[in-house]
Subunit: 345 residues, 2 copies
């Protein structure tokens, strides 16, 4: 009968939920997706989580599988020990005892975790970091966050907030971050920061006919222009320019467009500074890059390896590899949390 | 008989060795100090370590105590799993199998560790962090290094190099660090950096009669003067000015001297940036400050708490407390490593 055991796994994001029935060996017996519809408010989202989890357990039974536990991961600040979704901007959770709600609905032991830490756990144990004992997973998308995984366990922190590599200082004179501080890594090198910076510079080039300063493109370490202090309000983006995504900036840079090259180089330099800080503190074997920006592949990894190497004067250089589990990492990590919890009971 | 059990503990530094016989409850049965005389070369230092350890075991026996193990901690890069002192600038070690050498000399199980990580371990378990599960110990002296201790165990890293908070970037346009990179925390905020910066600015004020720029004192986040890129070679320190220590800079700042106030403020701001980065990544309950600079006490802690609070927009603020074990922390940590190893055998 244990051959048919599965855990119910849900990765709840701001826009969608990735859901699966996962076997103890990490293989997926069934997968499905649902919209989160976060605009309905946190209570409605919790209802959806519970009914999707219940329906998944029902599907398991119908397929002759035995659900033995559940794992749910959410963004924001998560108190894993107490099983509470403490705070989340994009799903609206405020101190919700989600673990116990799921457990009560399913009549099964449940685990609650953090989406990026769970994704890192999955990449470290099943994905790109599976040969390493010390892994730093860095997800670069709208924001930037990390999971430090040692011996298959992700650091949670004292208040469920470890791994916020997006909010470390890299450019004291850089653009203001969504968190309120200037110069955070996320404000310079996230996918949205790259797109915003390109739009800003393209708009400025369009709205003035002045040539760019000759040293502007190579001055990635130097001060940003003073009017770049608030990235959200500067520049006059030309129509259309705002639609250029970070991936397109990477492509344009590779095609030799000088403005895109400058923006990409600035982002890569800032990421290298952030990863060098991570390596100084964590000393890992492998850094796994995930999230939207990592889909730029070698356009990101090649220059980033060079820039990181320049910064590591006495530290061992970590392997820098792309994530391999794609956007299923968080859901697989939710399953691993459920399985780990069953093991320690 | 187990009432008389002790471990032999040595903290080997660049100038001196702190040595003790420590009981399983962490109390010290006997303590002594010896010069390291590192200029004799690593082989002679190893000889001294072995003879001091042997003599300590002999003293234990003579006092009716039973030495049951040994712990040695050294600076630099330490491979704790393999028991090797991989690299150390100030003692000159290059891949020395110190654990096995000590074990063979004493006929006892031995552990090898890193001095700052061991100091952090002791502060977390016996000192200022003993009420917290998640502790970051930061030693600020000639250099700056940290130990991240969770549940009484210090993170070592994949290559024995975790915790190098002195080498995270805080001022991209700041002075060059001894490691070769510009703007490391250690290059801006270590005790030696504070003394050097004061000497540099005092020398400059002396050698020119120009008034300081009005914004110079408040521009801690802004770019440093271009000629400050290499802190070691700029300025013309006046005779005597180079003799002002970081502690004296703190005192002069407290007494209202404007130049000292500026230097101290710059260091505090940089330290706050470094600690905020640490908190973003580790999310600890308590930050314990040790090392020479921490002896400035409230002159450091009070402004540092304010500056750190400004930087933590969504993270929980850690308790910021001074170390309580003084310069015995490393030696006590060596004893804890020895005891931990005996427990896991």
């Amino acid at each position: 009968m244990t051959d048919g055991n599965v855990v119910v796994a849900l990765d709840v994001g701001g826009t969608g939920m990735k859901c699966a029935l996962v076997r103890p060996d990490g293989t997926v017996a069934h997968a499905e997706r649902h919209p989160t519809d976060a605009e309905r408010g946190p209570a409605a989202v919790v209802d959806t989580i519970l009914s999707v989890a219940g329906a998944l357990a029902g599907k398991a039974h119908a397929a002759g599988l035995a659900p033995i536990g559940a794992g749910v991961v959410v963004p924001g600040v998560v108190d894993e020990a107490r099983g509470r979704a403490v705070w989340s901007a994009n799903v609206g959770f405020r101190d919700i005892p989600l673990r116990d709600l799921v457990s009560a609905r399913l009549g099964l032991p449940a685990a609650l975790g953090h989406d990026v830490r769970a994704g890192g756990l999955a990449e470290a144990r099943l994905g790109a970091g599976r040969d390493a004992r010390h892994v730093l997973f860095v997800a670069i998308g709208t924001g930037i966050a990390a999971a430090h995984v040692v011996d298959g366990s992700a650091a949670v922190g004292a208040h469920g907030a470890a791994g916020e590599i997006g909010h470390i200082l890299v450019r004291p004179d850089g653009p203001r971050c969504g968190c309120g501080r200037p110069g955070c890594l996320e404000a310079v090198a996230s996918a949205s920061a790259v797109a915003r910076r390109y739009a800003e510079l393209a708009g400025r080039a369009e709205s003035t006919d002045e040539p760019q300063q000759a040293d502007g493109a190579t001055q990635a370490h130097g001060p940003q222009p003073a009017d770049g202090a608030d990235g959200a309000s500067v520049g006059v983006p030309v129509p259309g320019a705002t639609m250029v995504t970070a991936a397109e900036v990477a492509d344009r840079a590779a095609a030799g467009e000088s403005l895109a090259g400058r923006v990409w180089r600035e982002a890569v330099e800032a990421l290298a500074d952030g990863l060098a800080t991570g390596q100084a503190l964590f000393d890992v074997e492998t850094v796994v890059l995930g999230g939207g920006l990592a889909q730029a592949g070698d356009l990101l990894l090649d220059p980033l390896r060079v820039a990181l190497r320049e910064r590591l004067t006495f530290h061992r250089e970590p392997r820098l590899v792309p994530a391999t589990l794609g956007d299923e990492a968080g859901c697989l990590g939710a399953a691993l949390l459920a399985l780990d919890q069953l093991e320690t009971r």
